[in-house]
Amino acid sequence: MKCSELDARRGRTSAGGWGASPKRWLAAGALLAALAVPGFAQAAGVENELATAENAYAALDYANALTAAEAVLAQQNLSHDVLTRATRVSALSHAALGHADQAKQQFILLLEYDSEFKVDPKLGPRFTEPFAEARGYWQAQGRKSGMDLQVVVQWGQAGEIRIVTRDPLGIVKRVSAGHRWAPAQTYTTIEVAPSGKAISIPANPEGSTRLEYWVRALDAKNNAVFEQGTPETPQINLVTEPVRGEAPQEKKSVFSSPLFYIIGGSILAGAAVGGFFALRPTEYQPPPTGRGVFGATCGSARCD
């Protein structure tokens, strides 16, 4: 994460100031309102500390980046995103400072949290060597870390969410999950032991077809090692009502069935629409580009 990216997250802008846009004032109001809620305040505090770490890393101040990242990692109840980002800063800072062993250990952890993480090979041996050792460790495990979910629910029947965690490091201590049938607002939350477990889901109540759920695999400090969905942005699974009440009928020609014409018509309409989109000339939309103009400053002011 670069400084400028972090700046964007925090709403910093290059010019114009806060007075320039009413949207910024609305955003500031929303932020202040959010900070009034303790949970948000805690999350915002961790985000700020993490931003300090990422900013320091981007500014090549690796010692301070490491200190700030370690301070974040010392906390509890970290979301998966914060945990992953803080570990990344810690690993890269250790590598930049030449702490090969610590960098390797942090890269091993990082690959547990994010098995797809890669170090840019252009970064040089100080970074790539401990990362290669960490990848070697994982290759020796013979499997990647992660969490798989299988949701088995049908209309009008109780179902379950099957959870399988793959945790070669053994750092997942429990799995926490929540589910609700929308439009219910409250989640039913359950905690189970890690590895292969199933959570029972009651049958969908009348008028509800949408199951919303989230699952988090937590370490000893309640940090989300793996995460699928959150209470704010849950995963969704829909159930559909089966067609009922059709009496058995004698065999008739398919041409006498209205279903034939409905399906046939749908296929023709689909082919026509698909053909239109497939064959129409593609409109080229170039990526947004800009012209970087180099200027000069002498010290902190523009050169005069």
Partner: protein, 148 residues
């Protein structure tokens, strides 16, 4: 199909990429600055180290000609580079005097248009080097030939 209107290309946004000299004297001392633009985020300390130790730099996306501090001060098309606003770049700048590296700086850039570009702060490539004395108090005096 006739509804597909031809879109006019908008003028590309202009992003100020400041090369930050440590002082006016340093800007006056430098004959030219070369800027190397790399795709993605590279480790600036590694790039600087490669340059300090006269090793080959990795392949770049763009390498500027030697831009004089006067051209930098004036800005304009002689000192510009086309950038994709969605991408991240690493920029290494090297200030040379009398054909030798004098200053070097590096910064990573991303999210142009949303945030201000990071300045490329130049520092002395070798701590033992000294900036030659100058009678110029302003860079514009040197550019106007009023001092050396």
């Amino acid at each position: 199909m006739g509804a597909c209107a031809v879109k006019e290309d908008a003028e590309p946004a202009e992003i100020a990429l400041d090369v930050q000299f440590p002082s006016t004297a340093a800007a006056v001392a430098v004959d030219g600055v070369k800027v190397y633009v790399y795709d993605g985020t590279l480790a600036c300390n590694e790039l600087v180290r490669l340059r300090q130790t006269a090793q080959q730099l990795p392949p770049n996306r763009f390498e500027s000609r030697s831009i004089t501090p006067c051209d930098l001060q004036a800005g304009g098309p002689n000192a510009s580079v086309e950038l994709d606003l969605d991408k991240e770049y690493t920029m290494l700048a090297v200030g040379q005097a009398s054909g030798r590296d004098l200053l070097v700086g590096c910064s990573s850039q991303s999210a142009f248009g949303k945030t201000k570009a990071q300045p490329i702060a130049l520092t002395y490539i070798d701590a033992t080097q000294r900036i030659p004395e100058t009678t110029c108090t302003k860079l514009s005096d040197k550019c106007g030939g009023r001092c050396q």
